[in-house]
């Protein structure tokens, strides 16, 4: 069994890793949908 502190750092690492890749991807998707909206304007 891991200690609560280990579990907390493991969760932080997981969240950090997903944010590292998720934030640029979210930016890319935001710009993509701005472009896609042109089809409906």
């Amino acid at each position: 069994m891991s200690s609560p502190q280990e579990s907390r750092s493991s969760t932080l690492l997981l969240a950090g890793a997903w944010l590292w890749v998720g934030l640029p991807l979210a930016y890319g998707l935001y710009r993509l949908f701005l472009n896609a909206a042109k089809l409906f304007v």
Partner: protein
């Protein structure tokens, strides 16, 4: 080298397997920048005084090098492990960008071709296959979903790079100095971004091997009880049938992707609701979204319905949708857009599902290397698809065709290719046991004496020993 030794890449106890997909994404989101190369084309043409064909060469060489390096270096990538592969990808890809910066500053076009195309292209190939077998080992219960996430990242890379590079060129200026600065910033930023993948990637541990048995308990079909080496895999008809499936599925997708914007305008030119050129750029963006979403959604679905069935969908329904475009595409814009989006989702999904299909057919032992060799199908399709569509559209224009007629012949060819791909998929049967490796530790679903990776390392050592003995025999140094 300690940090890169395969043993040092094995996860410590308690390592969360959900850290592996972001590691893979850090690499794929970066190398996916290649698909945003077009942003640099016009500025390079103006500042270096080169033609459109010349400015496309760094990208084209990069894609050729992707296929070649994945095929040639696949077994080395498997042997050295994902951390080594990701670091090599980082070095090659980012060096390519830095060499290009120097090339632009010096006004030397060929330095950009060699930097981005040759050196960077090797980084693309190693990076593309680097996380595949590791993801499959960590997610034996959902290999389609796992590889779908990574390969979705390759599509996503262009979505990030395209607006980012455009903003940078606007800020620095589209001169040789500005383009050079943009390449320099790209090289440094991607090195930092990819390094997180290098640090995070881990191979499954002994502890995970026990966990794997529990994961596969309710999914007996997800278990593969044999392994086939990369050298043996290419001797099987299954490999070449899958090569045809991938090649034709990709060619069919490129058929739309290559000419998406003018195609939409041409289809509705004569109708009561013509489509403006700005709206057509929105259509291209929607296709990119469908391409990316398909990689994750359909590949994950393949874990439930099976790999053969999902390719029946990509190829069979893909062919029917092309027929819909041909017969009714010009009657309704929403119908045209939706059909094209679904075709593009199948195109992306074909890439994303193929590693899991290979794992089902050949096991996990050298799946990354086999995947690398299969990617030559992509290189062929990358030439075949645009060639068919552009040549036929140009010939149609010369013959005085307008509107949907410009694309009818190429659509018929795409349908035929998809049907051939469908038949090839139908012909795929389990691999003949004579190609199986003698032992498949850790893959039988029973508790294994060695965890996955120790078994793989042991196999590699045996293979290397046998290979060097053969070499010595051939050279007459050692007689068996």
């Amino acid at each position: 080298m300690g940090f890169l030794a395969r043993e040092r890449q094995v996860a410590p106890p308690g390592w969360n397997r959900w850290l592996v997909p972001p590691a893979a994404l850090a690499i794929h989101l970066s190398i996916g920048q290649a698909y945003a190369w077009s942003v640099f084309k016009t500025p390079l043409e103006k500042s270096l005084g080169i033609t459109g064909t010349q400015s496309a060469l760094p990208f084209q060489l990069g894609i050729v090098m992707l296929g070649l390096s994945a095929a040639v270096l696949g077994t080395t990538v498997e042997r050295r492990g994902p951390r080594w592969a990701m670091l090599m990808s980082l070095i090659a890809f980012c060096s390519g960008l830095l060499i290009s910066a120097a090339g632009v500053w010096a006004g030397q076009y060929w330095v950009v071709v060699l930097g981005y195309g040759l050196v960077g292209g090797i980084g693309l190939g190693i990076g593309y296959i680097s996380p595949v077998s590791t993801l499959i080992k960590w997610f034996p219960d959902r290999p389609g979903m796992a590889t779908g996430i990574a390969i979705m990242g390759f599509g996503g890379g262009a979505l990030i790079a395209s607006p980012w590079s455009t903003s940078m060129l606007t800020a620095f200026g589209a001169t040789t100095s500005g383009i050079g600065k943009a390449f320099l910033v790209h090289g440094i930023a991607y090195a930092v971004f990819m390094s997180v993948g290098v640090l995070l990637i881990r191979l499954p541990s002994r502890e995970f091997t026990a966990e794997k048995v529990a994961l596969l308990k309710d999914k007996p079909k997800a278990n593969v009880g044999f392994n086939v080496s990369a050298n043996n895999a290419i001797k099987t008809p299954q490999f070449w049938l899958l090569w045809v499936v991938l090649c034709f599925n990709v060619t069919a997708g490129i058929g739309i992707l290559e000419k998406a914007a003018p195609m939409l305008v041409d289809f509705f030119k004569e109708s009561s609701t013509p489509v403006a050129a700005t709206a057509a750029t929105g259509f291209v963006a929607l296709l990119s979204a469908a391409n990316m979403a398909g990689r994750f959604v359909w590949s994950s679905t393949s874990d439930i319905v099976g790999r053969k069935n999902i390719y029946r969908l990509y190829l069979g329904v893909g062919a029917l949708l092309y027929l819909v475009l041909l017969t009714a595409g010009s009657t309704s814009t929403p119908l045209f857009v939706i059909a094209a989006m679904v075709i593009l989702s199948f195109y992306g999904a074909g890439f994303a599902t193929v590693p899991a299909y290979l794992r089902d057919l050949f096991g996990t032992y050298q799946v990354g290397a086999i995947h690398g060799r299969l990617l030559t199908a992509w290189s062929v399709a990358g030439v075949l698809g645009p060639l068919i569509v552009n040549a036929i559209a140009d010939a149609g224009k010369k013959a005085g065709h307008v509107g949907p007629d410009l694309y009818a012949t190429s659509f018929y060819i795409m349908i035929s290719l998809l049907v051939v791909g469908f038949v090839a998929n139908e012909l795929i049967r389990p691999v003949d046991p004579k190609f199986h490796e003698p032992e498949a530790a850790g893959e039988t679903g029973k508790p294994s004496p060695k965890p996955d990776d120790e078994a793989t390392v042991a196999k590699w050592n045996e293979a290397e020993a046998a290979e060097s003995a053969d070499k010595e025999d051939a050279e007459g140094v050692v007689k068996k």
